[in-house]
Every structure is written in structure tokens, then in C-alpha cells.
């Protein structure tokens, strides 16, 4: 099974990377950029008996490792 986990910073948490990228895009002349926030994606292949089990395993993975739940949110999509 293929899945994608997306981890993003919670709203309000400072994103220094995003801020620097925003500045760089502006100075490269990319028009109209108002804000950039950077997150992570994990493309995961896993063996699971069904979608539900896979989802549960990935949520567990997020809580334990993939996301820092103090400052990050995560989303799990099992693509099948």
C-alpha cells in the first residue's frame, strides 16, 4: 500500500525557513508572494491488511516519530 503523510507547522508557530524562502522568492522577482510555510511529506510504502489498519499504523508513526505534535499537525492519506 502507498500512503502519504503530510506534516505542517501549527498556525502561529514561527517558521524561520518559510520566512527566509519568502524573502528569497521576493528578491528573485517572483510576484505576489505573501507568505510561505514549509512542511514535510513522507511517501511511505507499507504492507497492511486493509486501509484502516494502515491508517492506524501511520497515525501511530506520526505520534511517535514523524511529527513533533507540540508544534506540528499531521495528516495521513492512504492512497491504496
Amino acid at each position: 500500500m502507498k500512503a502519504r503523510v503530510t506534516v505542517t507547522l501549527k498556525p502561529g508557530v514561527l517558521d524561520p525557513q518559510g520566512k527566509a524562502i519568502e524573502g528569497a522568492l521576493k528578491s528573485l522577482g517572483i510576484e505576489g508572494v505573501a507568505s510561505v510555510r514549509q512542511g514535510k511529506v513522507f511517501d511511505i510504502e507499507l504492507a497492511a491488511k486493509d486501509k484502516k489498519t494502515a491508517e492506524a499504523a501511520l497515525k501511530n508513526a506520526c505520534e511517535k516519530l514523524l511529527a513533533n505534535t507540540v508544534i506540528e499537525n499531521y495528516r495521513v492519506e492512504v492512497l491504496g
Binding site: 524561520p16 525557513q17 527566509a20 524562502i21 528569497a24 528573485l28 514549509q38
Partner: protein, 233 residues
Amino acid sequence: MKSAVIVFPGINRERDMARALSLVSGREPEMVWHAATALPAGIDLVVLPGGFSYGDYLRCGAIAARAPIMDAVRAHAGKGALVLGICNGFQILCEAGLLPGVLMRNTRLKFICKEVHLRVERSDTPFTRGYNAGDVVRMPVAHGEGNYIADEATIARLEGEGRVLFRYVAPDGSLDPEFNFNGATHAMAGIVNEGGNVMGLMPHPENHVDPAIGPTDGRGLFAGLMEHGSRAA
């Protein structure tokens, strides 16, 4: 030999580099701000120092590689003149397309600062003429992303054309995966471009030049460059 050290926001080994250049060459380099669009007149050697340009945000060296000064650096390299990128400077050169490949996260994912052994692969280049081929020298490393990779064809060309100038080795000079601490392809620590005038090197020769502080194996690199410069002049 006149050299210029490019200063990007967030770079932090520019002073170390300037000091090493002054110490070995007796001449202070020009410090050039990233927003400049031209190099000062008469520069022979351009150095992109180590550090964390733009905090290493996005990808190491990515934002600095697009700074205004980089067109001038590209033109300088295009003329066959010397460009040296150390650590973050190496990453910037790759991002700017002046060197092939990419520096990925160290295999153990950690930033590592320690002294390593390097084997000098050839001595007939401006960057290594201060050493003998096969010399094993000590230099410090301090990076989290120095794991050099490139596609197979590029690696084959680098090897085939003798463009690998330094490799991570065991103290006795042998290749040993245990001493290839960041996982670089074929233990590559320093490579040059096709023209042989642009080098990227992960370790920090500039921190090993002063006998009051420690080993001085980094001197050879700068001394070689100076010698090359005086010959060329």
C-alpha cells in the same frame, strides 16, 4: 595573489577563511557582500566560505546560490579563474551548477565536528600542488550535509577524469567505509569542475593553519594556491 571572500547572510566561517588567507599569503582578502554585482578588480581567487548561509534553510546553499554576486562568480569561473568553495561554499557551488551533484544529509543524520583523515589524490592541480599525491592529511569537518551524491554517469566522469582531489580515508590512507563518516559516494571529500579551476571541499583547511592552535595540514592547500598564483603572474 589577490583573493576575495564572499559574505552571504548567515555565513560564519568567513573570518576563519580571511585569517587563513592572510596568514599563509601575507595579504588580506577582500570581503565581498553578497548583494554586490561585481568582484573587485584584479581578483585571482574567489572563496565561498563555510557556514550557514540563510540558515541552511530550504536546502544548504540554495538561497545563496541565487544571490546577485553569483553571476560575477560564474563569470570568473567561466574565464578559467580560481574558485574555492569550502563546506557551505561547496554546497553553494553545487546549487549554482558550478559543480555537479548534491550534498545530502550525512548518513547518520547528525551534524559532526571532528578531525578526519583525507587522502590527496593528485598534486598536479592548483588546489593540491602544496601536497604530494597519496599524502594523508588531517583536517576538521563540521557539517550535517556532506554526503556527496551524483548520478552514475557523473560519478564515472569524476573518477575517469581524475576530478576527485580529496577522499575520506583511514589514518593509514586506505579506503574504509568506517572512516567515510558522512556516506559520500566513493568517499569523495573534494572535487573539481571540468576545467579544474573550481573546487568544492567539505572539510575546513582554514581551521588547520595555525601551529598555536593545532595541526597545520590545511596550509598546503593555501600555500599551493599562492604558488600557483605567483607562477601564473
